[in-house]
């Protein structure tokens, strides 16, 4: 292998060098902080300051940190995690219910104002979340849904990117012949969706659910605007409030709250963990191949 590479022409060697440079760059800038975070969770506060950046702590230290974090305020952080789960799962389910039929209709039927609706979807997609936070707040207030689970779920379910994903999927991956065939078989437009398109949408559902989950789980600003009661806080809001009130990340003398840098680090991991887990689960379904056998090839 090495002997073979020695004889590579100069442009191929340049290519290899470029690939390695990119990989090293990515590792240094993206992977190193993650590795540091993971290792730092096993160190206590003095060790964070005294030892090298990648030195190993102990399980004992992690246990102490975990104990401090979870027992604080009657396991308040557990309550926030549960809230986050409710908002996120509710938002994912509601957005799936809205997004899949919308994308299907946009992709497969010609109806008045189809193009403008598509353009509007795109505009909504590129509009930053923060821009609509205030209107959503006013809207929720009008309906009396501020500081409620339902209000937060409805607000997070708004997912134009999902509509666009569904539109692209149905427009490119669903053979037109299948729809024609189902119509001739006597299916109504709705049945074409539920009995033909939907069963073939596993990769799409996985993709939309994943992105929707990611967006909802880490949604800070909308939750910050809509939620004011601390028992309704989601994990990102709760932790931000906790960290800032305890001064854990400041350099002042620690307050009497047992939340310091190690606790903040473990809390950060707690926020990341479900996303990592979901990614590992859903990527299996995102692979294509569900439609093989429908048409030629």
């Amino acid at each position: 292998m090495n002997a073979g590479r020695r004889h590579l022409p100069w442009n191929a060697r340049f290519g290899w060098a470029a690939v390695w440079l990119c990989l090293i760059f990515a590792f240094v800038f993206y992977a190193t902080p993650m590795v540091w975070l993971l290792l730092a969770a096993f160190r206590d506060e003095p060790m964070l300051f005294s030892s090298g950046p990648f030195s190993l702590g102990s399980i004992e230290m992690f246990r102490t940190t975990w104990h401090n974090l979870t027992t604080y305020n009657d396991f308040q952080i557990g309550r926030w995690a549960l809230n986050s789960a409710i908002y996120t799962i509710g938002g994912v389910c509601l957005s799936l219910i809205a997004v899949l039929p919308a994308g299907f209709v946009l992709a497969t039927y010609d109806f008045p104002f189809r193009k403008p609706i598509l353009v509007l979807t795109l505009v909504a997609m590129i509009t930053p979340n923060t821009v609509v936070a205030l209107p959503i707040f006013l809207q929720m207030q009008a309906f009396g849904l501020n500081n409620s689970y339902l209000g937060m779920i409805i607000a997070t379910a708004f997912f134009p990117f999902g509509v666009y994903l569904a539109y692209i999927y149905y427009a490119t991956s669903l053979p037109g012949g299948l729809i024609d065939s189902a119509l001739i078989d006597g299916a109504s437009r709705f049945q074409v969706f539920t009995r033909v398109a939907l069963p073939l949408s596993k990769p799409l559902i996985a993709l939309v659910a994943f992105f929707s989950f990611l967006a909802n789980w880490s949604n800070y600003f909308l939750a910050f605007v809509l939620l004011t009661k601390d028992e309704l806080y989601s994990l990102p809001i709760g932790l931000a409030v906790l960290v800032s009130s305890s001064g854990a990340l400041g350099n002042d003398v620690a307050s009497d709250i047992p939340i310091n840098k190690p606790e903040a680090i473990v809390a950060a991991l707690l926020v990341i963990a479900p996303v990592l887990l979901l990614f590992l689960i859903s990527q299996k379904y995102v692979r294509s191949g569900t439609l093989s056998g429908a048409e030629k090839g």
Partner: protein, 365 residues
């Protein structure tokens, strides 16, 4: 009572008119094949018949009922697609049963009808499989099974064999023909393959530019094409065409160096002076043998290439600057490339087309 009746069908996509006034009656139990090159409107016509495409104007009647605006499922039709269009998530059984399930047919009856369709198409062993586990031919049989099980008034086939390899195509062609004999339903079949058209059809409808060019039995279209399009489209290799002029005596003169006068008998040229002569490869002979008749077509040329198909050979003969003539010759020919030859044809084998491309008919002897 005709099974299908199309009256003055027109269809435009934007400003493009793809069907420009089609009138057609199809008898009950008839096997009608729509042929034409791509873009001729034949597939659009079938989709209109199926209800998958709206008409711009005109009426569609099936079994005497006006179904112009009826949903596809209300027309008593079943359709087999070129792409098979099987539901990949359903087993073969459920693919065939889908229509019955949608119509809430009792399970016992679904079983009987699917089994019966599977028996006809030899699919019984495959009922539990998914479409992805089937070969191309098997998938197409499932698609046909899905049509049969509905017991439709009219079967529509949209180039059903185009995705199959040559051997399988012949086999499936035979099976479709057998199916038609067995169940005797009306069938409308779209293809660009003229062999399929010639072998399957009771009547062929030749489409070009959104219009019907000719309707007739396969042999009628082959022997008496009504215009240049049909003459060129039906038959393989293609009919040879030669430009010709009408001289004062009313006989035609071939517009090549030899300026030969050939006698085309008593025909009405309708004022046309520029004609096109058409001769099929099998009507042309190498040498003068058998065509020593006065007024026969005779052209001097040189063999450009030979194609040996085994049972028969084709010689491509160049003469002047015109397109080479394709001549069917004996498979055991001793002719070689570069041979100087005379190509001839008897007057009765020559088709004549006027300036507008329409056939000028001869008084038959």
């Amino acid at each position: 009572m005709s099974s299908v009746e199309l009256s003055d069908i027109r269809k435009s996509f934007g400003t493009v008119e793809v069907i420009a006034g089609v009138d057609l009656e199809i008898e009950e139990g008839e096997f009608v094949v729509f042929v034409g090159p791509s873009g001729s409107g034949k597939s659009t016509m079938l989709r209109i018949l199926a209800g998958l495409e709206d008409v711009t104007s005109g009426t569609v009647a099936i079994g005497g009922n006006d179904v112009t605006y009826a949903a596809p499922s209300e027309r008593g039709i079943a359709m087999v697609f070129q792409s098979y269009a099987l539901y990949p998530h359903k087993s073969v059984f459920e693919n065939i049963a889908f229509n019955l399930r949608l119509n809430k047919v009792r399970n016992a009856q679904v079983q009987t009808r699917v089994q019966e369709a599977a028996r006809i198409l030899k699919l019984t062993e495959l009922l539990d499989r998914k479409p992805s586990q089937l070969s191309g031919g098997q998938r197409q049989r499932v698609a046909i099974g899905r049509a049969i099980v509905r017991n439709p008034e009219v079967f529509l086939f949209d180039e059903p064999l185009s995705n199959l390899d040559a051997a399988l195509r012949v086999e499936m062609r035979f099976e479709i023909e057998k199916l038609h004999r067995e169940i005797g339903a009306t069938m409308v079949y779209v293809t660009h393959d003229q062999v399929e058209a010639m072998t399957l059809a009771d009547r062929i409808v030749a489409f070009d530019k959104g219009r019907i060019q000719q309707i007739g039995t396969p042999l009628e279209l082959y022997r008496n094409p009504s215009n240049l399009f049909v003459a060129g489209f039906i038959g393989s290799p293609q009919m040879n065409f030669l430009p010709a002029r009408v001289d004062e005596s009313g006989a035609a003169r071939v517009d090549i160096e030899q300026s030969r006068i050939i006698d085309l008998g008593e025909r009405e040229f309708g004022g046309s002076t520029a004609l096109t002569l058409g001769v099929r490869p099998e009507a042309l002979r190498l040498g003068d043998t058998g065509t020593q008749v006065e007024g026969a077509l005779r052209i001097e040329g040189e063999i450009l290439s030979l194609e040996h198909l085994g049972h028969v050979s084709y010689a491509h003969v160049i003469h002047g600057d015109a397109a080479p003539l394709v001549v069917q010759i004996d498979a055991n020919t001793t002719q070689a490339r570069g041979d100087k030859v005379t190509v001839s044809a008897a007057p009765r084998d020559i088709h004549v087309f006027d300036e507008d491309g329409f056939s000028v008919h001869e008084r038959k002897p």
